[in-house]
């Protein structure tokens, strides 16, 4: 990002998103604050059920019906997305904010041909004629690396392989040149060589269109390869935010540290890995105080009773831990 002052594209304040279930409220996102700057590549990392997808999908309000946004604001280009009506939001979705999901089969319509699906955002947002939109769609399909795009645009999604479906999905989501692209585990369902191809495509499109990228992943390798800054989530909370080099080289939160040490690649083979004991807590009844304290080796009395706030401890490095000083 250099020395110039980065401009904020998205600002999330005190966001709480709970899911209503028969066993009680699942506190998936609990008072999260986050800034995302224009043109950056930001990564949300965390384990299953930590709330990373809920946080990301709350931005375009694409949450399941039992989700309740209880408080907070999401400012996108000075508009509070949470205050918009559904029809106002529809104008932004797909045009300014686009989402690529993990499972492309579930996000493409199986009974429509691929071409028209990729063309649809143009027709919906820019009142382009279908004929023109289809021409652009074919161009976009070729841009994302679909061979014979003219021919393949007449196929149904089932005729596409997993990697091609994800490419088609990316074509659809970038055809309006959005300013924010949210990619929720876009390569988790793909093979390694295909994953590398798709990640490269996302990087290229980001540069070409000047997108801001919000990537959600549980893979630290992808974080290292794709992002400028990263935020680590644990049990509905953001516990650390920093530039990507510091996340790997000088993490401050014990959870981030533990995860980095778990990453297999760092150890010589056949040695025991360091491990975080236990498993993530239930979000219906999360632990009091710091939510990580039952698994934390450094927890003391304060951690059990008082919840740590996410504070900036050095330039651009935020952490929510009472004992971060001793973790340096």
């Amino acid at each position: 990002m250099g020395d110039f002052l980065p401009r904020t594209l998205l600002s999330i304040r005190d966001l709480r998103v709970y899911y209503e279930t028969i066993r009680g409220y699942v506190r998936a996102v609990d008072n999260v604050n986050l800034e995302i700057y224009e043109g950056e590549r930001f990564c949300l990392i965390g384990e299953t059920g930590c709330g990373k997808s809920t946080l990301a999908l709350a931005i375009p309000r694409l949450l399941p019906p039992n989700a309740r946004i209880l408080s907070g604001s999401i400012m996108f280009k000075n508009i509070d997305l949470l205050k918009l009506s559904d029809s106002e939001l529809e104008e932004i979705r797909g045009r300014d904010i686009a989402v690529v999901f993990q499972n492309p089969m579930r996000s493409l319509n199986p009974v429509l041909r691929v071409g028209p699906q990729v063309a649809e955002p143009l027709v919906a947002h820019f009142k382009t004629t279908w004929r023109e939109a289809l021409v652009s769609a074919i161009k976009q399909l070729s841009r994302v690396g679909i061979p014979d795009p003219e021919l393949r645009s007449r196929d149904y999604p089932h005729a596409f392989s997993g990697g091609m479906k994800q490419r088609a999905m990316i074509a659809m989501m970038t055809t309006c040149k959005p300013s924010l692209l949210i990619a929720d585990e876009p390569t988790t369902a793909l093979d390694v060589t295909i994953q590398a191809q798709v990640l490269k495509l996302i990087r290229e499109l980001k540069d070409e269109y000047g997108l801001t990228l919000l990537l959600i992943t549980h893979n630290f390798g992808i974080v290292a390869e794709m992002c400028d800054r990263a935020g680590v989530m644990y049990a509905g909370k953001l516990v650390e935010v920093s530039n990507v080099v510091d996340i790997f080289e000088s993490p401050l939160h014990p959870y981030t540290k533990g995860l980095i040490e778990c990453v297999v690649a760092r150890k010589k083979s056949k040695l025991r890995l360091s491990q975080i004991p236990g498993a993530p807590p239930s979000l219906i009844n999360p632990p009091e105080g710091c939510r990580f304290h039952p698994r934390c080796l450094y927890a003391n009395r304060k951690c059990v009773s008082e919840e740590p706030q996410l504070i900036e401890v050095s330039k651009g490095h935020l952490v929510a831990c009472h004992n971060y000083e001793s973790n340096r």
């Binding site: 994953q195 590398a196 390798g221 980095i260 297999v264 083979s269 491990q275 975080i276």
Partner: protein, 336 residues
């Protein structure tokens, strides 16, 4: 000492498009040979559709091979008598990727672990429970989990139960089919540690099937890379990571996202396209349509798996002339 020897193993699945059409064959495993020594771990690495899971199931005779030989402790697994097959079942175990779907949801942990004991031993009720509790403790669970149902356990605990079931009869060989892929990073580390502990304690032999090279590297002594039903490279883990010879292995190494932001701009070979359909694999070398180093010979002649150096086998026509050392400097120094 050699525990398992597999020679020219083939497994073809018949596939018919319609009732009247001529059957086609999916060549899932197509002429695979390798051996595993007692107490070591062989990592089998490949992308989806490479035949690695079919290989695991065929070795244990959970599906019947189309042809080939499997020697386990010197005995031909395919020609075992009923009595001997029972011995073979007792001496082998398997752990699958998804622990929840591999545990019967209607059985308690105790009943799940009792089954192998009831079938293969004549222990009385009391001894059974003792053995079960002892095995549970070995895998990091305890007596309190005895009466639980699988859905009451976390993913990591379920996988521990599945591992307990696989080792309760003290088998010689355990096939681990992506045992950590469905688990979170922190839980993955716990399970890998457990597997290493059990191996050193009981001298177990593992065949570890995975699509994740980094996990394979961590747990394996030897790595076998598969592509479209064939073995393309086999060597020690160290050699595979520092001196790979097959372009496919090199492209896999280039493709893994490495958890170090400084290696972002590293040199890589990028393969285009996708793995071939197993119904109709390419002629010649099966990797040639995606290989940046392919020459005319590769399109015509199928390369054999040949010894490149001691304990290093490669199936590539150009193995002796291609040199990836410079290309891989960044990665090899990371793994050194």
């Amino acid at each position: 000492m050699r525990l398992l020897e597999v020679r020219d193993l083939k497994k073809y699945f018949e596939f018919k498009k319609g009732i009247l059409s001529k059957p086609q064959y999916i060549r899932a495993v197509d002429g695979v040979s390798f051996s595993v020594d007692r107490g070591t771990t062989l990592g089998v690495v490949g992308e989806s559709g490479s035949g690695k899971s079919t290989l695991g199931l065929t070795i244990l005779r959970l599906i019947e091979p189309t042809s080939g030989t499997i020697l386990f402790n010197g005995r031909d697994v395919i020609r075992l008598s009923e009595e001997e097959l029972k011995w073979f079942r007792r001496s082998t175990g398997i752990v699958f990727q998804d622990p929840y779907s591999s545990l019967n949801p209607r059985m308690r942990v105790k009943e799940i672990l009792e089954r192998p004991l009831k079938i293969h031993t004549d222990y009385d009720e009391k001894t059974c429970t003792e053995v079960i509790v002892k095995t549970l403790e070995e895998v990091g669970l305890s007596e309190e989990h005895l009466m639980r149902y699988p859905h009451e356990l976390s993913g990591g605990q379920q996988q521990r139960v599945a591992i307990a079931r696989a080792i309760i009869l003290r088998p010689l060989l355990v096939v681990l089919d992506e045992p950590t892929s469905s688990l979170d990073v922190s839980v993955q580390a716990q399970i890998l540690n457990l597997l290493l502990d059990l191996q050193s304690k009981h001298g177990l032999t593992y065949i570890f099937i995975t699509h994740d090279l980094l996990t394979a590297r961590h747990i394996s002594d030897y790595i076998m890379v598969m592509y479209a039903g064939k073995v393309v490279e086999y060597s020690t883990t160290r050699e595979i990571f520092t001196n790979p010879k097959h372009p496919y292995t090199v492209s896999l190494l280039s493709s893994i996202p490495i958890p170090d932001p400084k290696l972002r701009g590293r040199k890589r070979i990028e393969v285009t396209g996708e793995p071939p359909s197993p119904l109709n694999p390419p002629k010649g070398c099966r990797f040639h349509p995606r290989c940046p180093y392919a020459i005319e010979t590769c399109k015509l002649k199928e390369p054999e798996l040949l010894e490149y150096s001691k304990e290093h086998l490669v199936a590539c026509h150009r193995a002796s002339e291609l040199d990836f050392t410079e290309l891989l400097t960044d990665i090899t120094s990371f793994f050194a």
